[in-house]
């Protein structure tokens, strides 16, 4: 199982990405209004999905840690949050690159964009907290608490930005994807990034578990002394 995953996850990720890239860049037709520029969607939308899945994984793992005090859950929360921040950063960068030719601006106060940006900073704060706390139990508990608070903020941010921006002209999003090849490319890339997420998170999880083992290990000099006292 271990070796299957070791080999299978990156193979699936790269395989799907290559096929998806070929379908998206060469086979799928250009979009009616935007021409070839739209093709960045094949990275942009999968990144958004991946980030959302990663943050949700962090939330679930944090809840599990708070109720069960499971170190594995803490390691999962840390790993998936880190991969989520990377995907979120990718989302913001591709969004900006796409926004410039289609909307004429690098940035707009659209609810989705703004929410993505705020989540990026909120989870960077979460990762910073993990770096700034040395005691493993405290770090895990506090990080879980912060992850829950941040995740709960996502819908509130979205609604508030939508209302706040409602007086300005809302940027229309491109029409839904009509061509089957476009759909196929999008799906292939979405799964490719999902496998990348799983692969990266798994690798990062191993590092986190190794660190935990070192941190939680009893200092060898203390062990007999502690065993000696009743």
């Amino acid at each position: 199982m271990r070796r299957v995953l070791d080999f299978g996850l990156p193979a699936m990720a790269f395989g799907l990405l290559i096929i998806g890239g070929v379908v998206g860049l060469a086979i799928a037709p250009p979009e009616r209004d935007m021409g070839d520029v739209y093709r960045i969607i094949y990275v942009h939308v999968p990144a958004a999905l991946g980030a959302l899945i990663a943050y949700t994984t962090t939330l679930v793992a944090s809840l599990v840690y708070l109720f069960k005090s499971s170190w594995a859950a803490d390691a999962i929360a840390e790993s998936s949050a880190e991969v989520g921040v990377v995907l979120n950063g990718m989302l913001l960068i591709t969004g900006s690159i796409w926004g410039r030719p289609t909307w004429g601006v690098w940035w707009t106060w659209d609810p989705r964009l703004t929410t993505a940006a705020i989540m990026f900073f909120a989870f960077v704060g979460y990762l910073a907290l993990r770096r700034f706390v040395d005691a493993p139990e405290k770090r895990a508990t506090w990080a879980s608490v912060v992850a829950i608070i941040v995740y709960v903020d996502i819908p509130i941010v979205w609604f508030s930005v939508r209302w706040w921006n409602s007086l300005h002209q809302l940027q229309s999003s491109p029409n839904t994807i009509p061509d089957p090849m476009m759909k196929l490319a999008l799906r292939l890339n979405a799964f490719a990034l999902l496998f990348f997420f799983l692969w990266f998170t798994r690798q990062r999880y191993r590092i986190a578990r190794t660190r935990q083992r070192v941190e939680l290990m009893e200092p060898p000099a203390l062990a007999p002394a502690m065993g000696g006292t009743p």
């Binding site: 989540m119 909120a122 829950i148 709960v152 903020d153």
Partner: protein, 253 residues
């Protein structure tokens, strides 16, 4: 032999007593009384020093002054942006005030003492965040006349309607702020960590507070004030409950 058996029985009963739930619950004060106790303690502590409120007020007024230097002496722009500057000053100053409120607990292991009293952690949370809210509210009430003087703001709807966005906005800062300050004060680089954690999640609260304040100041022809106040209220309900529930886990040993 008999003596030894009695001893064992006595020590067993002693050992058993604290573990039964009724015995553990008894020394607890009621939630309300404990909360008031914490509030009274914090106010007494502040009254004896008066350092926190003074420093916070001067810092916030200075921030308001800095905004006008950064923007330049354009009265129209300053007046239009006054609610934004006011809330930014409150938010920046809140980091100092929140940090200070938890620093007094971290010093000399004062929090340890509170825990030993077997207080409900929710009472500690509620007490501390209510004090933080009242502090920020006092700060806001000082900053409003200052921003009127500096930016030439006029309050069209009167002081009464201004009260509710100020109160809800400062409550929105203190709810997650108190919890985050309790975390940050025990971490390394706490002065960096608190704003880094707090500011991103406060953004919806800030948006709603600025909007509501600006509608009170400049008039509300479209009747939007109610929906912004409700959003601010919802933010408060969510975070006061959530942080109250989670606070126990943050201060546990």
């Amino acid at each position: 032999m008999n003596n030894a058996a009695e001893n064992t029985a006595a020590s067993m009963s002693v050992a058993r007593t604290p573990s039964t739930t009724t015995e553990r619950e008894r020394p607890r004060l009621g939630l309300l009384r404990a909360t008031f106790g914490i509030i009274a303690k914090d106010f007494l502590l502040e009254w004896r020093g008066r350092a926190r409120i003074n420093a916070t007020i001067f810092f916030a007024v200075l921030t308001l002054l800095l905004f006008s230097f950064a923007v330049g002496p354009h009265h129209a722009i300053l007046e239009q942006n006054a609610p934004g500057y006011l809330w930014l000053a409150i938010m920046l100053a809140s980091v100092m005030s929140l940090g200070e409120s938890q620093r007094v607990e971290a010093e000399n292991a004062a929090l340890e003492g509170l825990r030993l009293l077997a207080l409900d952690p929710r009472a500690i949370y509620l007490g501390k965040s209510i004090v933080n809210m009242l502090f920020l509210m006092a700060l806001a009430l000082v900053l409003v006349p200052v921003s009127i003087a500096l930016y030439g703001t006029t309050i069209r709807a009167g002081m009464g309607p201004l009260f509710s966005p100020l109160l809800l906005g400062t409550a929105a800062i203190s709810a997650p702020g108190t919890l985050y300050a309790a975390i940050a004060v025990q971490a390394r680089a706490r002065d960096v960590l608190l704003p880094l954690l707090l500011f991103p999640i406060l953004i919806p609260g800030l948006l709603a507070a600025v909007k509501a304040t600006s509608l009170v100041l400049t008039g509300d022809p479209m009747g939007e004030l109610v929906s912004w106040t409700m959003l601010l209220g919802a933010f408060n309900v969510v975070y006061w409950i959530l942080c109250g529930l989670l606070f126990g886990r943050v201060i546990e040993e």
